[in-house]
Amino acid sequence: MEAQALILARLGEIALKGLNRHTFEQRLFKNLQKRLSAHGQFKIHQSDSRIWITPIDTRAQSSLQEALAIASSVFGIVSVSPVWRYTDYSDLAALKRAAIDYVQRELDPQQQKKFKVETRRGNKKYPLNSPTISMELGACLLEHFAQLSVDVHEPDFILHAEVRDALYLYHQKQEGVKGLPVGTSGKGMLLLSGGIDSPVAAYMMASRGMLLEAVYFHAFPYTSDRAKEKVLDLARILSNYSSQLKVHVVDFTETQVYLRDHCPSEMMTIVMRRMMMRIADALATKRRCHCLITGESLGQVASQTSEALMCTDVVSTKPVYRPLIGLDKDETVRLARKIGTFETSILPYEDCCTVFVPKHPRTRPSLEQARAAEKNLDIEAMVQADLNRIELFNFPELD
């Protein structure tokens, strides 16, 4: 029987956004369109807080699974359903044929299931009313399929029937990533390392609608090309969520060696992080970002005591968002697995923070100590020099 497969996506928070709703929805559309375009031509149409995604060309038609996955990972969408659309719906007999066809396509004849039918009649001109349609379809399916039984109180699934310009049938609901469409909450500069935390922090900020750019500090030959590759791989994964990601790779070697040779060794970690923060801040200003983002969590490592965080925070001229600040490591790991960055993050390539760790780091430095440790440095010049030593990578990469 002739039927077309498509996708129904439901909007979440942005439905509540009142006057700003249109902006948010437009943004979501754009993000969705952009991500889907890699898999063919899709028509995206919105009504109420629902988006219908219809494949147009053959490439799109054979990429429905990919489209479902994409829709489930675009921020702003709360759930998705695969749908079958039937154009022959003129009378009850046609509706019944469609319902039978749907169950044959979608359900396992071996599995006993309890169901009910819920009908929405968007087309008020349609001769039959919703309760009638539900009842008739329910009875018809019951008759045709031995594995099905009706239970209107606790069904295993609900067959949704929508009568609009055609008959739409669906029964599954997959969870989406929710959040706000990327691009509706300004832009942030992420300090990206190869560890587990910073990619998760990126994801969390993207889920609040923030556009992201990232900065990574590379220190050849102290850090390997593999470590850099790992960071770029993480960026590639993140660009699936943030719709795009520019990575600024800073050649940090000269600065790092200079700090090592001109600052007290126990203050090395703090001095280094303050310098990285300054560079990130300057870069953020240049790139019109509203904030910095890090994956720091309180007390997780020596450099993340509240004293140390205060020392690094003060050198930034913008807010520093640390979405993981109150999270347990277990929770971060769980999120990292969910977003697909965990496996890459745990590859054991060192980054510059681990290579230059002093034997006895000062874990609770005071601001005075931090400033004193830097007193011989021409900070302005060092930051400027590093801003001129940047290699830029864009994700997703253009073919």
């Binding site: 050849f220 030959p221 102290y222 390997s224 090309d225 054991p348 060192e350 290579v355």
Partner: protein, 376 residues
């Protein structure tokens, strides 16, 4: 590029390349096929295996062709220890052994309740024979020995170890990892008196994908791979005659030209050290190690940093302390009792007779340069 990592893997001999170009287009029939083409494949494979056996001083029937040394090691350890009731209670090995031996032995010990006992190693990178004497017993099922250590080049004193084992643990089977030994020391399997020996193709300028397991006549082993029953049921899977022919060519070359090749490596080894000049370094390899492998440390410079720096210049060698593995330092060097400054800065350079002396000297100079720059 200046490739000084031959112990990790080696380039194909030109003779092997020629063999491939010559035979690959038409030598593709399955050696088990009943037709003439299959027979031809089989004939060439058998001939090569006979040659290899002659070179290694054993019988062709004692050689099992595998996909590599790792498979050979798995076949020997699992095939001997897993399937028949306890052939003794304990397995002796050391941290000088390659991870393929260590991991497989660990697995077998856990699975079939064997006791795993690690022998102590000395600062000379060899097994402590007094410790061996103490730990050998009637209950020893298998002793694993590494012939030439892949990280340091240390040569095991087999003429002492093997009689020692046979005297104290007559029932124990001896597994000899000769992967790095072929071409670097004389190997006559018949007179060695070991039960299993392991060889690898890509370490001797043959392609990757072939290893040999020597199983002494009379030793019974349960096969690892079942299927079509090739190699008399010992190791099922379509055989690759071309790979065996390549192994034969490479094996003959490294053994027949052994003296010249070894002498040449000695010269290259010397030139390398001379070119380091007055740079402070410590050699971790024992003085009587094979000349092809040199393990040395530059205290004050982390191995990975040095490797990254030289790699960017096209000079390639290996790290003994691998940040990529679960342990931060090399197990071998740890077992030898090296202090931290040496563990952190150890690199392994491996030489080949076809290396250009001038290129090797230049590499040493570049290493020297970087060490001076990076040293704290």
């Amino acid at each position: 590029m200046t490739y000084l990592d031959h112990s990790a893997s080696s380039a194909l001999f030109p003779e092997v390349m020629e063999l491939y170009l010559r035979e690959l287009p038409h030598l593709f029939a399955n050696p088990s096929s009943a037709h003439q083409a299959g027979l031809e494949s089989e004939r060439k494979l058998k001939q090569s295996l006979q040659n290899i056996a002659r070179t290694l001083h054993c019988s062709p029937d004692e050689l099992w062709v595998c996909s590599g040394a790792t498979e050979a090691i798995n076949t020997a350890i699992k095939g001997y220890l897993l399937f028949k009731q306890h052939r003794g209670k304990s397995i002796l090995l050391s941290h000088l052994d390659h991870p393929a031996v260590v991991e497989t032995a660990n697995f077998v010990a856990k699975t079939a309740n064997y006791q795993l006992t690690y022998l102590k190693a000395g600062a000379d990178g060899r097994i402590d024979q007094e410790d061996l004497e103490q730990k050998l017993s009637e209950e020893t099922a298998m002793v694993c020995l590494i012939h030439v250590n892949n990280e340091t080049g240390a040569l095991a004193k087999l003429d002492e170890l093997i009689p020692q084992i046979r005297a104290k643990a007559p029932k124990a089977k001896i597994l000899l990892d000769s992967v790095q030994a072929l071409g670097k020391t004389n190997i006559k399997l018949k007179s060695l008196d070991v039960d299993f020996a392991i060889f690898s193709g890509h370490k001797i300028h043959a392609p990757k994908g072939i290893g040999l397991l020597y199983v002494k006549k009379g030793v019974s082993l349960t096969p690892l791979l079942h299927g079509g029953g090739q190699q008399k049921g010992r190791r099922s899977g379509t055989e690759n005659p071309l790979l065996v022919m390549a192994f034969d060519v490479a094996c003959q070359k490294v053994c027949q030209e052994f003296d010249a090749r070894t002498e040449r490596c000695r010269q290259i080894h010397r030139s390398f050290l001379e070119a380091l000049g007055d740079l402070p370094y410590v050699v971790n390899s024992p003085s009587d190690a094979v000349p092809q492998i040199l393990n040395l440390s530059f205290p004050g410079v982390r191995s990975e940093t040095l490797l990254n720096a030289l790699s960017a210049e096209g000079i390639y060698f290996s790290m003994a302390s691998s940040c990529h593995s679960k342990a931060p330092y090399s197990e071998v060097l740890l077992a030898m009792g090296l202090e931290r400054s040496r563990l952190e800065s150890a690199i392994r350079v491996s030489f080949d007779p076809d290396d250009e002396v001038s290129a090797v000297q230049l590499a040493a100079e570049r290493i020297r340069n970087w060490v001076l720059k990076l040293r704290r």
